[in-house]
Amino acid sequence: MALTICLSIAAVLFGIGLYGVISQTNLVMIMMGVELMLAAAMLNLVAFWRLLHPHTYALQLFVLVVMTVMALEAAVGFALATQRFRSRGSVEVEEAADLKENA
């Protein structure tokens, strides 16, 4: 029961995150979508640890790793956004379409 609740909530969060990633025009908003997807992953991991394998601490460690990923990607993402803003004046991805074949 508890597992089903947790996995379902994670699934919905993942779906929302994916929707956000695809529907948003702003880099920062896309990153938010990614955060949601990663959050869903963490929820999965915690639920699996608690309800299926409470003595395997690698699962908890994995949660920590996911948190690291979250934070680090956000950090580099913001740095990139800064640079992009500096060179282009916007972080809208629709405006990032200068590079394509001109053949």
Partner: protein, 627 residues
């Protein structure tokens, strides 16, 4: 001796080509050498009936050269006739262009014929056979700046080469049956009928039998010595030599076919000769007809008769040609219309013609009388005398008729001044030599044949018939007119019965059309093959495009339109277009998949995620069997 016999003319030919000077002298020397060799060979076989050398040719199929009394005799006859014609040609060609070409080819020709005569295995036989074809092609094309000569040469070689396929097939069958390429002294079992008929095809081509007689007429475009050489002891005789060689292997069932071909040829070409209005054409048709006699004799089961006529005919026909050449030289033409009556001013030529012609008609004691009698006797002795004898007697009558007619035409008509052509002396010398054999040869014919191992059939009824036919024919023929009446039937007979337009129309044009079609088809194929690559790739790219169905349709139409346009616009230069079409097809295939690669990150991301979902869904569906 064999080496001398073969190498002398061959060396002469090579030297003429390399040195490019003294062609006539070298040619004559080579011919003389060949004669010496042939005589020596004859001397050799007098004591040792079989002389043979073999050396490795193909694996298990050695080459061999050898001589029997018969082949030695043939070699001598060829050498003699050739030498005399060479002498004649020295005068004939004194002022013509293309001497190097002519003399080299003549020498090569003689060498090839001697090789054919002396070959003791089938591979060398076919070598000589084909080399002779090559030499005849070159000889007929001596005056290749004339359209007629070019055409005649090509037709002659093409037609004979076509029938040579029969020789190949026949020899293949013989070799496979006997297991060796050497001609066996003790013949094995007879070959299948197919093989015999294949050989017969080759004979029909080479010996200008019906329906392949027309190349001979075309071959008259060459110089007259060439015609003399071709039509007497060599080229056309090769067919009969082949039959004589293969005779022990022929199944009895094949003989009627040979007889039928020979008989038909005697009659049909006899009429052609009778209707001819050109002296050389008359001789050409007559040659076919006379060779038909030999075939009939063979089919009747009397090779001796065939051999005798072969020998006699060599001298008679070359003599006739040489005298025809004299007429031609004096009048710059061979048409009866232009030379009629010139016999009175050219006594030597006329005498040569008359003697050789009478011999051909079967007037005793000339050599032709004996050989023709032998054939008539053979006809009587055949299993089906009504046909064999009848056709032979009819043929004899026809021969006498056209000889008589030609004599009449030459004698009567307007008197023409004798031209002082250069080289007439040598030409006359050659002619006289040959006529000498014609006159004297008859007395030795039976002995010679006995020497080479053949018997001459004799029958009083045959002699009587022959004499009657000769007298009747000559008498009637004298009064026949020049056949210039342009009736379609006569023209049809004159032109060697061109049914449906003859070979050029029946075979040549369809072949060329087929070839052109093949050429076009090949370009089409090339374009299709190239287009195929593009189409396959376009197809591969298609699966990925969900949103470009419309463009897909356009893409399907695109290459097709392109191909169509290229095909209709330029059939020839389609190649370049095709290659560009290939590049274009690639390019289009790539462009079609380009909407996927839009450069907009969110759209691409969508594609990616859709791809993932598709993968997951596919995997899930595939897993349902696991539940």
């Amino acid at each position: 001796m064999i080496a001398l016999l073969l190498l002398a003319p061959l060396l002469a030919a090579l030297l003429i080509i390399v040195l490019r000077r003294w062609p006539a002298a070298l040619g004559l020397a080579g011919s003389l050498g060949a004669l010496v060799g042939a005589a020596g060979l004859l001397w050799q076989v007098r004591h040792h009936p079989v002389v043979r050398f073999t050396w490795p040719g193909l694996p298990g199929l050695p080459y061999g050269l050898g001589a029997t009394p018969f082949t030695a005799l043939l070699a001598v006859i060829v050498a003699v006739v050739a030498l005399l014609i060479f002498v004649y040609a020295r005068g004939y060609m004194a002022h013509e262009r293309g001497k190097v070409w002519f003399w080299a080819s003549m020498s090569l020709f003689v060498a090839a014929m001697q090789l054919l005569v002396l070959s003791a295995d089938w591979l060398l036989f076919v070598t000589g056979w084909e080399l002779m074809g090559l030499a005849s092609f070159l000889l007929i094309a001596t005056w290749h700046w004339e359209e007629k000569a070019r055409q005649g040469a090509v037709n002659a070689f093409l037609l004979t080469r076509f029938t040579d396929l029969g020789l190949y097939l026949g020899i293949v069958i013989i070799l496979l049956q006997s297991g060796t390429s050497l001609m066996q002294a003790e013949p094995g079992p007879a070959i299948p009928l197919v093989g015999a008929l294949a050989l017969l095809l080759a004979v029909m081509g080479k010996s200008a039998q019906v329906p392949f007689q027309s190349w001979l007429a075309g071959a008259m475009a060459g110089p007259t010595p060439v015609s003399a050489l071709l039509h007497s002891a060599t080229m056309v005789a090769a067919g009969v030599v082949l039959l004589l060689r293969a005779y022990p292997l022929l199944p009895p069932a094949s003989l009627p076919y040979i007889g039928a071909v020979g008989g038909a040829t005697i009659v049909l070409t006899g009429f052609t000769a009778l209707c001819s209005n050109d002296i050389k054409q008359l001789l050409a048709a007559s040659t076919s007809s006379q060779l038909g006699f030999m075939l009939v004799a063979l089919a009747a089961g009397f090779p001796g008769a065939a051999v005798s006529h072969l020998v006699a005919h060599a001298f008679m026909k070359s003599g006739l040609f040489l005298s025809a050449g004299l007429f031609q030289h004096q009048n710059e033409s061979t048409l009866f219309a232009r030379i009629s009556g010139s016999g009175r001013t050219a006594p030597v030529a006329l005498a040569g013609w008359a003697l050789a012609g009478l011999a051909l008609a079967g007037v005793p004691p000339l050599v032709g009388y004996w050989s023709k009698d032998a054939i008539l006797a053979a006809g009587l002795g055949a299993g089906n005398p009504a046909w064999y004898f009848g056709v032979a007697a009819g043929g004899a009558l026809l021969t006498a008729l056209y000889i008589g007619r030609s004599l009449g035409l030459l004698w009567r008509g307007p008197a023409r001044p004798a031209a002082d052509a250069v080289g007439l002396g040598l030409m006359r010398a050659g002619l006289l030599g040959l006529v000498g054999f014609v006159v004297g040869g008859g007395f030795f014919l039976a002995d010679v044949l006995r020497f080479v191992g053949y018997a001459l059939p004799e029958a009083p009824a045959a002699q009587l018939t022959g004499l009657t036919a000769a007298a009747l024919g000559l008498g009637l023929g004298w009064f026949l007119r020049a056949a210039d009446v342009g009736t379609p039937v006569l023209r049809f007979v004159q032109d060697n019965y061109p049914i449906g337009g003859g070979f050029p129309a029946l075979v040549g044009r369809p072949t060329l059309a087929l070839a052109a079609a093949c050429g076009r088809f090949d370009e089409y194929l090339h374009r299709q093959v190239l287009g195929l690559g593009g189409a396959v790739l376009a197809l591969a790219g298609r699966g990925r495009r969900a949103d470009t169905r419309l463009r897909q349709a356009a893409a399907g139409v695109g290459p097709a339109t392109l191909a169509l346009a290229a095909r209709t616009r330029r059939a020839d230069a389609g190649l370049a277009a095709a290659v560009q079409g290939l590049a274009g097809a690639f390019r289009r295939a790539g462009q079609l998949s380009r909407p996927v690669q839009s450069g907009l990150v969110h759209r691409e991301l969508l594609w990616t995620v859709l791809g993932v979902l598709a993968l997951v869904a596919a995997l899930f569906v595939s897993l349902f069997r696991w539940f």
